[in-house]
């Protein structure tokens, strides 16, 4: 082993997309691999958690953690890496805000178990078995991780030093983040390693916005043939650009898809959904109570659109049941 800084990459409740994004930095990854000692990367390398357990506290320079936390196993790994690392980077929308899995905070754990072990059309479970955290047989005890009542973002479980949002984060920002760590040129703890502007400020379609947008109807992207250069909001299609952090390289906008908000709230804003409600209210161009109701009732699943990536860190966090 060399004196190179040790780096761990780990997924908790992630889809693998964030790990894939690390690979997507292409040849640059070779440079990174040269500069650091990878000590854990479950998706790609065969290190075990007990290797990490055997390390000194703080021995790992940086842990890059993706995915949300919803069970005791994920929590244990998060806490282990926190203990062994000088810096923890929450990587991707799931780690930063709970991500798309965070939408599960709108239903209960029981709802999920009922569907998965009883109601889904493909389920055959005549005995009605459900996974139990503990099971004894022949005097031996088997355990499974405990499935939690809700989805947590990483910072709700451990102390996080830096954030890199995105679903997944783009290669340029990943390289910037890793380089900043290696060169010790980091902003203050707690920073998000992206530009601090709103997506609208960097979006090429911004210049097509009139000084005052007025829309009479809200449409979904598949209901119109979206004009490829005009601001989506002007076309009456919801686009979360006004309330979302920039830095994605306008990846969705460039393929004619409106922003869904995976970079999370802009600097200083806690709840991007609430922020977007204000922006949206301002451009819905109706006055009477009746028209207001008609337009707003016509929006399909507003909470699903506005909080697609951020429900667990939103002000209300979870459905009350």
């Amino acid at each position: 082993m060399s004196g190179k800084p040790k780096v761990a990459i780990c997924w908790l409740g992630g889809c693998g997309g964030c790990d894939e994004a690390v690979v997507d930095i292409n040849e640059a990854i070779l440079k990174v691999v040269e500069a650091v000692d990878l000590v854990l990367w479950p998706v790609a390398l065969d290190f075990k958690y007990h290797h990490v357990e055997a390390m000194q506290d703080g021995e790992i320079a940086l842990s890059i953690i993706n995915g949300h936390v919803r069970n005791s196993d994920q929590e244990e790994v998060a806490k282990l890496l926190r203990k062994k690392s000088q810096l923890v980077l929450a990587f991707g929308a799931c780690a930063c805000f709970g991500g798309t899995p965070g939408m599960a905070n709108l239903i209960t754990k029981e709802d999920i178990f009922d569907w998965v072990y009883r109601d889904a059309p493909t389920v055959v479970n005549p005995k009605g078995n459900r996974p139990q955290p503990k099971f004894s047989s022949d005097g031996k005890e088997l355990t499974l991780p405990e499935f939690y009542n809700q989805v947590y973002s990483l910072k709700q479980i451990i102390d996080v030093d830096y954030y890199l949002p995105g679903c997944p984060p783009p290669p340029d920002l990943i390289m910037n983040a890793v380089t900043a760590v290696l060169e010790g040129k980091l902003p203050p703890k707690g920073s998000t390693l992206t530009p601090h502007k709103a997506l609208c400020d960097t979006c090429p379609r911004n210049k097509t916005k009139p000084s005052r947008i007025g829309i009479k109807d809200i449409k979904r992207i598949h209901e119109i043939e979206a004009e490829p250069n005009t601001c989506f909001l002007v076309q009456g299609v919801l686009c979360l650009g006004p309330a979302t952090r920039s830095g994605c390289g306008e990846a969705c906008i460039n393929i004619n898809i409106p922003c869904r908000g995976c970079f999370g709230p802009i600097e200083g804003v806690e709840d991007s959904g609430a922020k977007f409600v204000s922006a949206l209210a301002a451009i819905i161009d109706v006055e009477s109570e009746e028209d207001t109701k008609r337009v707003i009732d016509g929006i399909d699943d507003p909470v699903g659109y506005l909080y697609r990536f951020t429900m667990p860190t939103s002000i209300l966090r979870k459905k009350r049941v």
């Binding site: 005791s72 929590e75 244990e76 806490k79 282990l80 203990k83 709108l106 405990e146 939690y148 009542n149 809700q150 806690e270 709840d271 959904g273 609430a274 922020k275 409600v277 204000s278 949206l280 209210a281 301002a282 819905i284 109706v286 006055e287 109570e289 207001t292 109701k293 707003i296 009732d297 929006i299 507003p302 909470v303 699903g304 506005l306 939103s314 002000i315 209300l316 966090r317 979870k318 459905k319 009350r320 049941v321």
Partner: protein, 141 residues
């Protein structure tokens, strides 16, 4: 539910609704009056925070239609309220708990009536359901 006194928060526009927060006769009913310069200034975050911090109902009083001191702050507020009602419902907070009234009443004569109406309606719904805080024991490392 018996003996349930809903906790209400009321945001009122100063132009049409005066400085009612200072009126002792009214403040006993709603302990949380927030006079604002214009109903259009009420941030959606404030509405969410009110519910998060235990409000059972939120009442917003704005200027009458076509009569906002700042042109269309009241319409803006109404649009936000309708949007927020849909969001709140998804979070398990009934939309009837958030109400907006556009009217004028500098002496506050109708206010007791409006507050009572909301209060009665919310009383029927019961207290806002609490978010279940973390119950898992977690794991020690």
């Amino acid at each position: 539910m018996k003996h349930f006194k809903p906790k209400l928060v009321c945001f009122s526009c100063r132009f049409s609704w005066g400085y009612l927060a200072e009126d002792a006769g009214l403040s006993w009913q709603t302990r949380n009056w927030v006079p604002v310069v214009c109903s259009g200034k009420i941030d959606t975050t404030h509405i969410l925070s009110a519910f998060k911090h235990g409000a059972d109902g939120v009442l917003i009083l704005g200027c009458p239609e076509g009569d906002c001191h700042y042109q269309d702050g009241n319409y803006e507020a109404r649009k936000r309220v309708y949007l927020m009602q849909r969001i709140l419902e998804s979070y398990g907070i009934e939309k009837e708990r958030l109400e907006i009234r556009l009217s004028v009443d500098p002496e506050g004569k109708q206010i007791t009536h409006y507050v009572k109406e909301l209060s009665d309606r919310v009383a029927k719904l019961g207290p806002v359901k609490k978010m279940i805080e973390r119950t898992e024991s977690g794991s020690a490392v």
